[in-house]
Symmetry: C2
Subunit: 395 residues, 2 copies
């Protein structure tokens, strides 16, 4: 047996925390330091750690726990009120980056004649990669600032869920064009099916756990353990049976339990597991995936352009959606900022595209860099956007 993973885990825990403290001293969220820790340790810099199955799986549990906690914290009344607004924000937040990514790919002629798909399809695919918002870093930053249940925070969470679904639909449309075995109608039915399942299973579980808690209302480990199992099952079913992201399942599980009388206890226990083990691994593992050795000058230029478009199109698209739906300019800007971050979803989409012959190997580095940098700057910009507001409110 190889025990290296114990050392890796120790290095991740120490470096994410120490760099987190450094970034906090510099008035940035701690999560920025944690992401930078991964970049420094990984192949992009010191080449000390590499992503492994173990780190990937612990990291996945990390993001599931974070999304579950975000669900627990969500004010569902506010979410219902902001439902239509979230939809409009998400829709524009998908369409504008899709168009932007497509145009950049066209302008830079990145399509490879060696691939099976047409040039047009390859360029559209770059656009699709830019659509997927990864809200987990935003959630962590909002949590750090205590802003999850603000109006803008709730709109971001709602929009991120819908964004995830729109992203799946977009991916499905293009892959169904590249791969005749995918059935678009079936995919849409499965998404509807997931929400039906979540409602039935969620209400059933909620009813059972509340009855159980009523038998012995003092804080009991068994209830927390069962909620964790429920969260994992929702995550698994979302991916396995419905083709929906596991983190969406985890978020919905959190939403269900946000109405529980045990909400605070559950939150506190998950918070410990999160900060002490799974969340640092998640943050570090994003940076660990970056490899820069394959970068040429023209590719570096494309990377910068892609990054700029990724940032600007989300702020514009989501911000415009929010403005249309009656949010203040300040809130619209906060919402746009909160949606910039791309994460594991973009990487999964890129992986899938590579497997289907829709993008070239060499485009993987620009995509990873875009994911990491949008993820690193989101908390910085978000903190600035919310701080400004506070100052205005005080004035």
């Amino acid at each position: 047996m190889n025990y290296d993973y114990l050392l890796y885990l120790a290095i991740i825990l120490m470096s994410t925390k120490l760099l987190g403290l450094v970034t906090r001293k510099a008035h940035m969220p701690q999560v920025v330091g944690a992401l930078i820790a991964g970049l420094i340790l990984g192949p992009a810099c010191l080449n000390l750690l590499h992503s492994s199955t173990f780190l990937n799986q612990v990291s996945e549990i990390g993001v599931i726990v974070l999304m579950f906690m975000a669900g627990l914290e969500t004010d569902t009344e506010e979410l219902k009120r902001s439902g239509l607004a979230s939809f409009v924000i998400a829709l524009l937040g998908v369409l504008v980056p899709l168009a932007g990514g497509f145009l950049v790919a066209m302008a830079c002629h990145v399509a490879s004649p060696e691939l099976s798909a047409s040039e047009l399809m390859q360029n559209i695919f770059i656009g699709i990669i830019l659509t997927a918002t990864s809200v987990s870093i935003t959630v962590e930053t909002l949590k750090e600032m205590g802003k999850v249940s603000t109006k803008a925070g709730t709109a971001i969470l709602g929009a991120a869920i819908i964004d995830d679904i729109l992203g799946i639909i977009a991916l499905t449309v293009i892959t169904s064009m590249a791969d005749p075995s995918t059935n678009l109608v079936l995919v849409l039915l499965k998404i509807v099916g997931f929400f039906a399942f979540a409602v039935v299973f969620g209400i059933g579980f909620f009813y059972i756990i509340q009855k159980w808690v009523a038998l012995d209302p003092k804080p009991n480990r068994r209830h927390v353990i069962m909620t964790f199992a429920f969260c994992l099952i929702m995550s698994f079913c979302a991916e396995h049976f419905f083709g929906v992201a596991d983190i969406t399942g985890a978020y919905v599980a959190g939403l269900v339990l946000s109405h529980s009388s045990k909400r605070e206890v559950i939150y506190r226990e998950f918070d410990t597991v999160s900060y002490l083990l799974v969340a640092p691994v998640f943050f570090a593992s994003i940076g660990l995936k970056v490899e820069l050795s394959s970068m040429s000058a023209s590719l570096a230029a494309f990377t910068l352009l892609l990054l700029a478009v990724a940032i600007v199109t989300k702020i514009l698209g989501c911000g415009l959606g929010a403005k249309i739906m009656g949010y203040t300019p300040k809130e619209s800007f906060q919402i746009g900022i909160g949606m910039i971050s791309r994460g594991e979803v973009a990487l999964i989409v890129a992986n899938k595209g590579e497997a289907l012959g829709l993008i070239d190997d060499k485009l993987y580095a620009p995509i990873v860099v875009t994911v990491v940098i949008t993820t690193v700057i989101t908390p910085i910009l978000l903190k600035a956007a919310f701080k400004d507001k506070k100052r205005t409110a005080a004035a």
Copy 2:
């Protein structure tokens, strides 16, 4: 990416807890239910789950966290007082099972003429497998009963550490006879080296963390994270540089921090990570390793005999050692019971023996069954042994 591990984790969390509640209702420790959960889910019964790299690594973190917490709870003054006693208990607790295992193997003619090692060596090796006590289940049971810092509890913990070292020496002696590349003197020097390293690194870390805590004495996540990193580094170094079990490293890390002013906070936070994620995986994964399909009738008879000898020789050996060192008959019996459990160490030793041509493949099932059943009955017997004492004290 395959998401099955999320489902497996959910199944493990639910089944270990539910069966734990059942065994508690039946006046047995919850850990028995958790072990049985693994047996039922694994290839021995339902064949629903299998041990995987992910489960093994999370399980290893689980046992490390358990041993670290045992160290945190240990009364080091009592440990110092019981040092010589622990040594005598451990020594007899190694010699008696070694002789017993050897005699059973001789009597049953289990040695295989196809293996490179002589019949004598193969029989001695069965004895060596029986020497290794795995104290983690005992620790969990003592914790559940609140008996870790009793006189018997401290003697068990001390003896288990020394037992681990004696087991390593015995393994090294036999492997050095089977494999000329092993150097016995070097192995002994490394064990001494580990304790020297632990003292220097431990005191250094303790000094730094106490200084850091003094800067900001309120409960702070950073301190807990750093102690976890320290625990993992000690575990890694023990295995990697000194050939000592990782759980010994974790226990020593806990001992160091048992003197910290933050002891309670650290304990509470690790307890949450333990019960909510890593400990259930550890308990379940023991049962998951059992496969019974390869059992013949004569092998089943050998299994029963080996099991009986494993139990009786530890009670006799350790109990006699404790009696010699002046413990009461009751305490001696408790100590003997507490040392019955064989665990991952016996499995590691068996693995090593297989690789070196010292035991036959077919003996793996009897060994695993012995490990699992000694592990399952230890908490049951232990609870009985301690309960009896309480009744006497009350009378």
